[in-house]
Symmetry: D2
Subunit: 416 residues, 4 copies
């Protein structure tokens, strides 16, 4: 057992930290405020990217801090999950950093999918500009009219018709679709309800400007529109794209989705941990500098014990996420189902818990936009639902656990 990061990772951590401290931190508040001010009540057609963002992206790229998430050594940094994870944690401390380093969801997941499963043509058209940070993309899976935590509920369709795929349905929580540079989505739909359970769905590349694609609205999360990324409700009405836009072919949607899940969840969870560290810092700074009843707030009541509990929770979440990353690297996603579901429950909940305590210590200020706490809270809540709500992941963990008791489970007639 060796808990130290590799020298290369250590070096990258140091450089990412330095870049974030020296280049991003000084402008972050200003950029976010400008973006928030330009929310225009959810009217994404008017959203803009702050000029500082493009400058910083260029700098990050020049500094070799670009596409660090991609396991490909040439196109990306060639890092394993366990090597990239601590970098994702660092980026999670900032709302801006992921985009600056070209490591922003859902583009990261989309790039991985294209890298792994895309045709040469698809790579040339979609992957390259994504890797260059020239365009953005979205992922269309969740649907407004059904409980999407159960994939078999999916109503949207992607049906072959000659040389074309015909796409219909409603999707929402399509994150990033409000970005001015967003050019396409990966759409998942039902292709053949008669096929084997794992071969019914397909993933298709759909340009945002294809006829029949309509962004109905942007969805606020705790009243924030998350501009300029945005979470959109998108309707697809007889959208037709060439068959060559299918990723890996008809009926491969489920297989691709599975491959996408592991790394994506690890990234999300590590960013949560970075965010939790930041919230804890804010808590402590406020608690040391505000005085009530003659003492700094942290010296009152159970506040010191609270800090201890939060430190323990964060450290445990980090270790579990790194372990999940290692397991995915070494044995694969299927051997790490418990760990991937476990971190999906743990990390956002830890973030929620830390932020919640930080808000209490900040008093009214914590509820306002003077601090990033409510935005961090919203982040936590989104992640308690995105990619499956807590309860679904608990169900998955229980299933694996019971699976260890083969004969008893069989006797009991229980699903495991």
């Amino acid at each position: 057992m060796e808990f130290a990061h590799s020298p290369r990772t250590q070096d990258l951590i140091k450089r990412v930290r330095q870049f974030m401290r020296e280049r991003i931190a000084p402008v972050e508040a200003e950029v976010l405020q400008a973006q928030r001010a330009a929310a225009h009540g959810g009217d994404w057609t008017r959203w803009q990217i702050a000029p500082a963002v493009e400058t910083l992206k260029a700098e990050a790229r020049a500094a070799g801090l670009w596409n660090l998430f991609l396991p490909d050594a040439e196109l990306g940094a060639g890092l394993s999950n366990v090597e990239y994870a601590p970098l994702a944690e660092e980026m999670g401390r900032s709302f801006l950093a992921p985009e600056i380093f070209n490591c922003n969801a859902p583009d990261t997941g989309n790039m991985e999918v294209l890298w792994k499963y895309g045709s040469d043509e698809q790579k040339a058209r979609w992957l390259t500009p994504l890797l260059n940070g020239e365009i953005r993309s979205a992922f269309c899976m969740t649907e407004p009219d059904v409980a999407s935590s159960d994939a078999t509920n999916m109503q949207a369709t992607a049906v072959l018709d000659g040389d074309e795929v015909v796409i219909n349905g409603k999707k929402w929580w399509s994150t990033g679709i409000g970005h001015p540079n967003c050019r396409f989505v990966i759409f998942m739909g039902l292709s053949d309800p008669e096929a084997n359970r794992h071969q019914q769905h397909s993933m298709v590349l759909v340009p945002l400007d294809a006829p029949g694609v309509t962004i109905q609205r942007m969805l606020p999360v705790f009243s924030e529109y998350d501009e300029p990324y945005g979470h959109g409700e998108v309707h697809f009405d007889n959208v037709r794209v060439p068959k060559s836009n299918l990723i890996k072919g008809i009926g491969k949607g489920f297989e691709i989705a599975q491959g996408r899940l592991g790394p994506g969840r690890i990234h999300h969870c590590m960013r949560c941990i970075g965010a939790a560290e930041r919230a804890l810092e804010l808590l402590i700074e406020r608690g040391l500098t505000r005085v009530a009843f003659g003492k700094p707030l942290l010296q009152l009541g159970g506040n010191r014990e609270r800090i201890a509990d939060l430190r323990i929770a964060i450290d445990q979440a980090r270790l579990l996420t790194l372990f999940a990353a290692w397991k995915v690297d070494k044995i694969g996603v299927h051997a790490a189902l418990t760990e991937i579901s476990a971190i999906k429950v743990v990390a956002p909940n830890v973030l929620e818990q830390v932020v919640s305590e930080a808000i209490q210590i900040h008093g009214g200020a914590g509820l306002s936009n003077d601090f990033p706490l409510t935005a961090l809270y919203a982040t936590a809540r989104v992640l308690r639902l995105a990619d499956g709500p807590d309860a679904v992941h608990r169900g998955m963990i229980a299933r694996v656990e019971l699976g260890k008791f083969g004969s008893l489970v069989k006797q009991a007639g229980v699903r495991a």
Copy 2:
């Protein structure tokens, strides 16, 4: 012991419910949406009240459902706290109802203060139009630069200068100050730092248009501006009002604040309970009508147990709040310190807990404005801080509890 409400209360509950169901519910969503749409990024100068509101106020008044909170039998309904409490619960189910019934905080507290301590002149000028629902008011106590949970931190001043009171300082979280009809505030400030600890502060009536009063900004709560009420940051710069604007005289601020606290907290907590009931209904309705893995969501995992826990929590919070109300009625605020602090901790936390579970059952929809859940969540969080954060109330309860161990406490040299 008798847990049944009096016949009169039962009748009022029935009538309030009916009015809310028949008159308010049908227009509520529309009114709220209109108000939200008109938030104008916190620019309260453009806030408006929906016309439906004034119509409904007139109807409520005509129906005898007006000023129910006021213990005065002529000016109000003459109800005790324990009689009004269940009506506050009903109103808490709606964001609109309290204003319709002229039972909206902080006007209720301000009306009580004026009714109890105001001079005839003050009553004529401020109380009467408040009782008529013609004007609104705010309360200026919390300050941005200090931990206001400790009243001795207060920096704002209200100093006698001849026949005038000179007012200086910064206040924030002045709720209701964004209302187009808001005309005055009750300002609390330090008058004499040399006086006895409980006679240093004064409360003064300050017209909003007095020279030197500036609303700096409206504070968002989880990114919502709570229009058209709003939570303002207000600066007072050498504001001068006649000495006759002092409530009950110089140095009486603390005494008045004490009297205000009990009923105000009971109202807040009962509204929380009503809000929690509504959130639980939303949870169950969604959980019964959405299906995943072949079952309604409520049949999955621990969801039924969650409903049980929420039901238990709500019922306990209600009983404790009613008990606190009864104790305030029968023995007075000072005998009910534990109960008042206890409900201040319990009720908003129960609301937070119910809403949090309801969001999980709603999935992404719960995070958006399609449901009132995030607004209810924000309500809960505001109330975990307003009138003292949870931790301060826990401290108060512990103090009373230790006070029962007189000689041991003395030996131990502990504050109780």
Copy 3:
């Protein structure tokens, strides 16, 4: 609403308290230590009652503090549930008090059953000596081989054979069966598996010395044998009793069990609350008198906040239990299903929580027999299982709650 106890109840509370303080408290530790010392590794044949107990019983009876639980005004005190509840709370502070006042479970439940449903002959033979405190009794329902939280699992039988009832089966957790004065049990068994679901079971009076009745062993609870009451495993092997020993007739078991549940659970829960108050006192006393790092323990870390949380939890549990009692009195057990299940979850868990914190403050001493904390902990745990584990009661509450959503529940095809 009126939260004050009636003058009569207030007087009884005062007298019970005084008796407990002056007569029971001084000898309690000694009596318990003597009983514990005489546990003889679970060999109940050697268990003895301390002489002080009979003396105190006589005194309590003389003082009019006898059979207070029984609603019958002549045989008992004629108190309603809500009137008796606070007396049960007082008794719950002591392991000895319930027996002294002849209010000990399961005799109280058995006496109620005989009083309500017993024939004159049964009353003369069993009820009168129980009311006199001359004999003790047990209740045989739970079975070792099946999950007894589901009554339909019951395997033991009580079958009519001419003028006799033939009894077979294994029972355990038959509390009180180790008492030297225990003379009979109420046995519940299956009489007719073909009958209507609620008419399959019967309750039968079985003398402990009937041929075929064997106490197999006493069951320890957290390694304590709860001498001289004991929890027994009892086997019934073709035990024959006259048909007249049936309570209310064949097939009436379920009906009687229902009637027994409400008051029994209220008594248990109120005793829990008394026990929790005692544990909180012990916590505070220890916390004020032990010093670490220069301060009384209670001044360290989050201990004061813990006290507040415990006070809140206890007060809420008490109010909910009193409300359940009132509802049972006024509207009946069936209208109070939620409340009865809710207190069954809440009260033992609150006791567990208070005791757990008290143990932490006591350090190692809290784990030993120098303090009653581990015994109180065991009490809490027993009550989280007896009469149905927490999870079953949560299930019941959810069922009632969903029942309020009739048409939705029907559409969803959900059990409610």
Copy 4:
């Protein structure tokens, strides 16, 4: 980062598991029952070791599974903490295993102390027979009359008087002192109250048969005497031992205690995790094989979600403990203060949580001695207090955390 155990560790895990499954498991229940039956109400003078134990010890030694805890490659297995940790986890699944493998606390800690700090004479006389499993030992630190979580409270004395050390004071919770083979204790006492804070105490080797040493009683833990190890209260009355019995010299007690803490806590916590795994297995086995309301218990209510939460908690606790072990190995105890305190809070609490849920699933059976659940619960509670209660460790973690905010902490005048 590498989460896999070294090949050597993997081999040892396999062999320990096999030995436990094949040799220990078959006799364990019988041995424990025999020991429990021979508790004799705490009369340790009659305690005996089951013959099977010595046989198994010899077998374990022959199999090379002996003294695995000792980092010395000749005297022990030469394993680092991170290598030994998973073996401790395996042993924690059994109450018997630690003694069989000669890895039983507090002998392990005592052996480490003697190995690191003992003189040749001390090693020959005490260490060698301990390593051979011929004798047992105890550790005397905690005192009945003061809060021993604060070491400066210590009242017992170990004072130089010529060539002798004179020992006085009362100690309790001296674990292992009831073992028939216990021959000596390591006693910690105050030698010089005037010395530097970290040089006031000394550790002395005291033969159990030295004049003036009296075992007053054995302390039960949740009414169990933990025979044949026992937790004793021991009085030292002018006990005189030669100066050469001082470990490392006068005033070195604190230094030695510090060195002892890290590994000892890691061992305890890993055993907790093994115990938790066992409790979870029992929970699942029971939950799959008992049926209520037509389903295996695990299919009811929130039970599957509970299993998931327990799995997550156990896995997180394990990773944190392994990380602490690694940090102690690589950077030393002082760099791992947060982690050592964190696992001391986490691991016993996780065990408590798992056991508590397991008891609920077992129903009444879980409270009895038919299952090891109450004994596992007692283990958890002991460890939430031994070596410092949870609250003290939380305080330590907070102190380290605040220490990272150097200048703010200084400004705030806060201890960190």
